[in-house]
Structure formats: structure tokens, C-alpha cells
Amino acid sequence: MKAKNIYGETVDEIKSKYADATIDGFAPTLAIVFSSITQDRKPLANFFDEQKIDVFGSTTAGEILDDEVMENNTVIMLLDIKKAHYKIFCEASDDTYKVASDMAKFAKATFNDPSIVVVSSGLTIDAEQIIKGVQEFDKSIPLFGGLAADDLTMKGSFVFSNNYESATGLIGLILDNEKINVKGLATSGWDNIGIEKTITKSVGNVVYSIDDEPAVDVFVKYFQFTESVDNTAEIIAQNFAQYPLQLTKENGNTVLRAPLMVDIESRALIFAGGIPQGSKVKFSVQPGFDLIEKTTERVRVLKEGIPEADAMIMFSCKARHMALGPMTGDEAGMIRGIWNKPLIGFFTYGEIGTAKGNTCDFHNETCSMVILEEK
């Protein structure tokens, strides 16, 4: 399998770069497309459809291509993977669990031993239901992915394919493990700090109070360093998302939950994942500036399973982008350097993957890597 990366700010620019990429006879069958919410996705999807190329796409909060971090752009990985070795699954429904379960059924019906790379809307979907839906059907199916983002506008994020786009659905890239070697790892680096606190009132991913104090007031007390948080979601994200809550779930997995939005009226915070009422949580702080080296070393472990990769997909939390700033590209570059093959990724509103010592779970603040190699 060969992979080539292209990018552009307009459809015409992308068409031009596509032409350059295929001039040598390279004939891609699949395009992984990560695009800013500002980009025009429809004509792009149509263009790939005309080329008989399947599209696996998601909107972003920043794009990653090899060692470059971009904004308001579209990044594309073209793969000449055999069509028999993968399938695209698209479905939208209010019942995320059912959609995920359908996706797992489809995967098992298509391949004896499938892996799933999934992208879904980041604002309307409970990602834990995706994992639950897949694992309760067959927990042996490896699952990786990320939640679509919208450049922190918090208005709507989308997943899309050739003739499909949804703000409430998901897209699964089903890979045949017998033909494609797929490995993945989610790694964070955030450290917990301070004493344990109790979520005294929450419903799903909306936390109303922490230790009987309004959730917003608690975060404002500790983490408001810029202007008032009462106005824009972006300010909330910039101020608070880098200080997620760490909790240990009933299944024993330790996960981070970052606040994404605020409900000013109820002084509640809306997190990028569920936090059950009664949970014991701790605040987390951004890792030191050696995070890039640490992450690279953790990902390097995957090289034992895949010594020679063909392509890499990175789902990195938007909060990491904010925590690493101008060094974010260095992280992508160092990880890419492990295999020295094309890398594509985007900044997400949540990641799906397996952290060291855990089972597959929904995370925030992580870098969830997927490494592909056609056998």
C-alpha cells in the first residue's frame, strides 16, 4: 500500500495537487480527508467520487499533515489500498449505541477479523455509546478514532463521505486485519493535581456542581486568566479545556474529561464525555514541555508490531494543540519520524483508543495514533 499526502485551501488547489500526485500512475482508492469547517466539502467529495475514490472525512479544529500543523485547510491522505481490504460504513441516528452496534455487525459480516477507525460528530454524539455499541457486540474488534471538530465555534461538526454528510452520524473505516496490519495507542501525559473532588450533580456530560459548588464557578476560581467566560465558548475552551478532570471509571480505566462549553444560566459545564454523578475527580494540569519526547517514546512501542508502516493517522485533542502551541508540529514530526511514512491527522473534540494498561475507551487530551500496513 502506498500513501501520498496533499493539502489545499481550495478545491481547485487540491485538484491541482491531486493531479501532481497521480502523474506517476499512482491510483488511489481511498482518501482520508480532514477539513476545516470553513472548507467547501461537497465539491471535494464529488470530485473524489468522480475519481471513484472512497472518502473517509471529518471536520477539524486544526489539521495535521506530516510535521505541519495547519488551520482553515484541508489535508488529504491518498491510499491505493485494495478495495477488497476495506469498507466504508456511514449511518446517522439519534441512537448512537445502535449505529455503533450496526457498524460492528457490518464489520464482522464483511471481514472475519476487522478493525474499525471511526470518526463521528463531536458535539451531538456520546462517544462512549460508540465504544459500548461496538464492544458489547464484539469486544475483540480493535477500535480507534476521533470526534469531529469545528474550529472551536461549537456550532456543529461534521463527518462526510462521497454522498454522505452528517452532524449527528458516524463514519467507520472497516479494515480487514487479515490483509491490513492495524495497531494503535492513545497516550496523554496530563498529570493530576490537588485533592479529590466529588461530582455532586451531573447528567450525562453536563456537570452542574462539584463539591456542591456550581461547576463553572469552580473552574473560574482556579483557571480564569483572561476575560470573562460568560460570553464565548471559545474563551471557555481556551481557559478550561487544558485543565481537564481525571476520573477512574467503573471499568477501571482512568480517563480525562475536558470542558467544552458552558451553560451560563445553570452555571453548568458541558464536557467532552460523560461524568457520572458521584464520581471522584481530580484536576489535571498540562504536561511539561518534554511531552513530545514522552509521547514519541510511547508510540515507538508500536514499531514492535509494525516495523514498516505504510501510513499513520493521528487523532490529537485540540487541548494538546493549545498546550503545545508552536511545538505541536514537532510532536507530529517526531512520531512520523518513527516510521518515516506519510502522516495525517486533525485536532479533535475527543479521541477513541486504548491507553497503556487500559481497555479501549473515550478520552480527552490524548494523542490516539493508528498505524497501517498492508500485508
Binding site: 493535581i193 490537588g194 485533592i195 476560581k221 482556579y222 483557571f223 486568566f225 485543565y243 484536576f283 494540569v285 498540562q286 514541555f289 498546550a323 502551541g325 508552536p326 511545538m327
Partner: protein, 371 residues
Amino acid sequence: MEQLKKLIQALDIDAEIKAQLLEQVKVAQKNIAVVDFKFHRTVIDKAAITNVLNASIEEIEKQKKNIEMAKNEINENMIILDKQKNEIEEKNTELNIVLTNLKETQQQLVQSEKMASLGQLTAGVAHEINNPINFVSANIKPLKDDLNDLVGYINFYRNTIKEKGLEDAFGGKEKLPDEQEIIMLFGEVDDLLRGIGEGAIRTAEIVKGLRNFSRLDQDAIKKASINEGIESTLTLLHSSYKDRIDIVKDLKNIPEVDCFPGQINQVLMNLLSNAIQAIQGVGKIFVSTELVAGDKVCITIRDTGAGIPEEIRTKIFDPFFTTKEVGKGTGLGLSISYGIIQKHNGSIEVLSETGVGSTFIITLPIHQNLT
């Protein structure tokens, strides 16, 4: 930086060098951005960490104070609980003592009632036997006198027959009783009468012992002879020790003591019975009395029996403690005896050595005011 780039662009130098310079500017630009970013992030993170840690310290201090308060409260409660526990334990001890006393009193009452009934019965039996045995005792001497008279008459008739030669009238000399036979016959009758007399005396002693032992005066304090009590008790127990146990008595001349005689006899009966039972086969029981310190009498009963093992020596006065087989002992004898002696302001102590024997020493005041 942009101005620097423009300046480099404007320079009239080799294009390769110009490109290298521009690349270096780009790297420098990124490095400046990184340093700037790191500085700002460090400042913010420091503030965030400080806020969280300060709040945590504050919370920990608060929790520490709460824990201290809770600890103090617990300590206070512990003191109250300890006090209440002590009070309960004291009450419990008091109740146990009261319960033990009640049990002992109950047993004593039961025993006293039994003894009273037995005493009445014994006294009745003794009284009824006393009259006929008196008849027997009183009639022995007249019977003896009559028999002597009868012997005189017989001798007279024999001498007359002999002197008058009247043997043929009685069928010949050989038909008449031989003189030696008559002497032997009278000797046998005399022995029989002596035996009857001794039996009557012995019966009278037993009756006296029964009457003495079964004094119907348990509820009234009286002056009583301890020595007499011992004698009576030994008389009553005679059948259980005769032929195998030698009773060695050393009963000094001691004054009568103020007591409930029936109860003291009960104690003597218990101790002497135990001493007899402690001797398997043959042995000795030493019984002595003496005056002590001018105002007390001391009764010592020592046996050469099996002795009491050390591990149970402290329990022998406990109610219901017994080493006897089930059904053969109530375990109340010594307990009741202990209670009776205490009630008489006396003391009872035991010395024992396994395989050698046991000694019970009772000390009783001669005078006392008992109710």
C-alpha cells in the same frame, strides 16, 4: 522579522546564501514563538497550579480541623463511654454478687427447708423410738432380778429333790437337767439380756444423736455444744465409715457457742461426709476442737483421703461445683457450709495436698449477735 526578511531579499548576494539566511530567520522566528509560548504557558500553569494547590491546602487544613474536632468529639465520647462502661461493669459486678447471694440464699432456703422437714421427721421418729426403747431399758433390770429369783427357785427345787430323793417322781435322775446345763443356760440368758441392754443403750445413743442433730431450732440462736454436734454427726454417719475408717477425736473442753445448732450440724455433716467419701478403702479422720484466743472455737477435720487438686481448690466453695459423678452430688454442700459459717461471722479454710489428704478448719466466735 518581516522587515529582516525584506532586508535579506533586498540584499545583492548569492541566491543560495540568501535562501540559507531566510531559512535561519524562519527557524529563529519559530524559536522566538516557542520561547514566548513557553513563557506564557508557564506563567498561566504556575498560577493554575498555585490556585489548585492553595485550594487543596485550604481544604486539607479544613478537613484536618474537622478531623481534629471529630477526634476530640470521639475522645469525649470515649471518656463518657468508658465512664458508662465502668458504671455498667460496677452494676454488673453488684448484680452478679446479688445474683450469687440470691442463688445461695435460695439454695440455703431450699436446704434449710429440707433439713427442717428432715429434722421434724427425725425428731418424730426419735421420739417414737425413745419410749419403747425406754421400756426395753427399764425392764431389763427387773427382768434380770426376776430371772435371778427364778434361778433361786430352780436351785431350791433342785436341792429339795436331791435332799428328799424325789428323782424317781420326775422319771429318774437321768431325766432331770444336769447342773452344768442349767448354769450354761442361765449364762446364755444372761448374755442375751446383756446384749439387749447394750442394744437398748446403743439405740438410745442413736436416738439421742438424732434428736441432737435434728434440733428444731434452726431459726433461733442458741448456745450449743460443738462437741456434742460432732458426736451426733459421727453417730449418724457410723454405718458409712465403720470397719474401714478410724476416727481419731481430740475434743477439748470448749464452751458452748452462740449459733443456729441445726445449721452448724449441717456443716459438720457436710464436712465429715466429704472426709469419709474422700477416703477410698481404709484411712483415718482426725477431728479436734479447741478454744482459740479466748473467744473463738476452732474445729479441725482432717482426712487421709485423695486430697483436692490445686487447679480446683479455689472453686470448691462455688455453688454447683462438684467432682462427683452426675446425680451423686449437687455441688452445694460446701457452698452452703461456707454461707452458714459466714453468717456466723466465722471462717472456713481448706488445706490440701493431692494423695495426702485435706484439712478443713472452721473458726466460730463464741459470742455473737445473730438475727
